[in-house]
Symmetry: C2
Subunit: 340 residues, 2 copies
């Protein structure tokens, strides 16, 4: 199994990427890691580290796509960037998955243009795990498509369901539609139409998921357009921050509480862990002819190692093939497929 | 000042509504409270209570609109319901604001059909306050309009800005557009177009508000379509629940933490207070020819009293007139007003 890594992507590249890759390669002897990026810089990070040289490859790429680069222009013009070179390797079959902590927009654009969609997939979607009371839930789409048609949402449900089966070992994933109100006729024009399609689709559709139930543990997959999904994803980060901040302020106000806080340390640690992206690996771009994974921009070595571990499960589970089969079985949901 | 209350609305009606109304009437001698509902039931709740009879009126209404009634049908058919009777009083000028803890959809429908829109207002919107690090932020629209046009969003900004000035005493409210990404060209087709309109509108528009910044305190008003707003509102409730639940579980796991929890009680109390809807009164339906306020369905007497207090500020501030003036000044944002 070959896992291709964008050595130059993210705030802590290439150091964290290289160290995380080495950690993962030590943990799993059945993987080979391909580091794509500035050869000099990558070699410097490798120097002095102990590792199995037969399973660490370097593919040079001299350019870097920055966080502020315009996605379409960057993919078109920076042909020798680590991202473009890495995705070209993937599309030629010289690896099964590509991981980057870099520019999300460029990754989505490159995924569509270089890796390309599976036949029948209307739009690739970002799938990301959120913590729930009892485990986690997969949010699809977390931001790739700001404007969606009902058939896209129905396909997101199909793809998310395959992912949870193959990667998270959920037998029959419960799929919910993010909506306002519980009944079929509630919601926007988009969600009303999507409800009808999802009801008929080959997944275990369990109905609408209202805002307050998204993290309830009642769903394994929650489906929405990428605008709503991105707001949910980032709002969760913001809210967790405000709640923790409020608790901390209250604690500082009272000497009593300060003593209490010492006792509470382990509880806070558990909470932080639950909302810690490093535990969840990365977000997947589903619907492409190869695995494309987005790691968090501020990934440290541990987060990269988690991402590689999850990427390995993605390959072992045969997710790309399984999505292709499921999408074919699901049909086109009554809408013509469009060129993009 | 006359404040009309739906005595039959909400989970704890009429008891909590009546008691909350009496508490508010005791606190503010310049208000008269009109209780609309089943006379017998309301009188029973009033029996044995000490209050100024000249400032508590009862208007009988024998029907009740339930939480599961279809909004449009209920408003059309239940002519003698507390909600329809109350809004008719408001539209005839026999009161300045109507408060209900009942069916939100019916309140929105009745607001549009009975109270009617201010000239030039395209859609009324639900405005509700969310807690931030430093205070609160007004979310508009929190759920009245699942599908919006760009001009609606621009108007929501204008109306929200007036509300924060007149009711919350914010001199020059900072208005943000809920969006994915910080730059003008980011987002859905709706938000891209709304950005352009809001930039030119007579409010202090400070740009996009991303999910993680909604509660940062950087904004006084955040504007979005009612689908997104409702997801945000309810997701906040759900997330606060998951975070508190996680902390409690961790605490129960460890005896050490259990001791700590005793010390932490006041910090938890502060946190709960911050996320407690009873502190925030109610949500306003902005854009109508009279005040229409939605109190939380599970309002207790304290929550109703808070709602009445906020309603009083709404009247004193002359919000309805001020919105009419601001909407006229803002123009129609280049779109024809449509009949609804």
């Amino acid at each position: 199994m070959k896992i291709i890594l964008d050595a130059m992507g993210g705030d802590n590249a290439p150091g964290s990427v290289v160290r995380g890759a080495l950690d993962a390669a030590r943990a799993f002897e059945d993987i080979t890691v391909v580091l794509v990026g500035r050869e000099e810089a990558v070699k410097q990070e490798l120097a002095g580290q102990a590792y199995d040289q037969s399973r660490i490859e370097i593919v040079p790429a001299d350019e870097v796509i920055g966080m502020c680069d315009s996605p379409a222009a960057a993919i078109r013009k920076k042909k020798d960037s680590s991202m473009v070179v890495g995705m070209n390797l993937l599309s030629r079959g010289e690896g099964e998955i590509f991981i980057s902590a870099g520019n999300t927009g460029a990754l989505v654009t490159g995924g569509t243009l270089i890796v390309r969609r599976i036949d029948g997939v209307k739009r690739p979607a970002i799938a990301t795990q959120l913590p729930t009371r009892t485990g986690s839930v997969l949010l699809v789409d977390a931001g790739a498509n700001a404007d969606c048609k009902p058939s896209y949402l129905a396909q997101f449900g199909v793809m998310g369901s395959v992912y949870m089966q193959k990667v998270m070992d959920v037998g029959e994933p419960k799929v919910g539609l993010v909506n306002i109100g519980g009944e079929e006729e509630k919601g926007s024009m988009l969600t009303q139409a999507a409800y009808g399609l999802m009801k008929e689709s080959p997944v275990k559709f369990v109905g609408n998921a209202e805002g307050r139930d998204l993290l309830s543990g009642n769903f394994d997959v929650i489906v929405c357009d990428g605008f709503t999904g991105n707001i949910i994803l980032k709002f969760l980060e913001g809210t967790a921050g405000v709640i923790m901040g409020t608790l901390k302020e209250s604690i500082l106000k009272s000497a009593m509480s300060k003593v209490g806080a010492l006792f509470m340390k382990s509880a806070f640690r558990d909470l932080k862990k639950k909302f810690d992206y490093t535990e969840y690996g990365g977000a997947l771009l589903l619907g492409l002819r190869g695995g494309v994974m987005k790691a968090h921009g501020s990934s440290d070595a541990k987060a990269i190692a988690s991402a590689v571990k999850m990427a390995r499960k993605f390959i072992v589970g045969g997710v790309v093939t399984a999505i292709g089969e499921s999408i074919e079985r699901a049909g086109d949901f009554g809408e013509e497929e469009e060129a993009q």
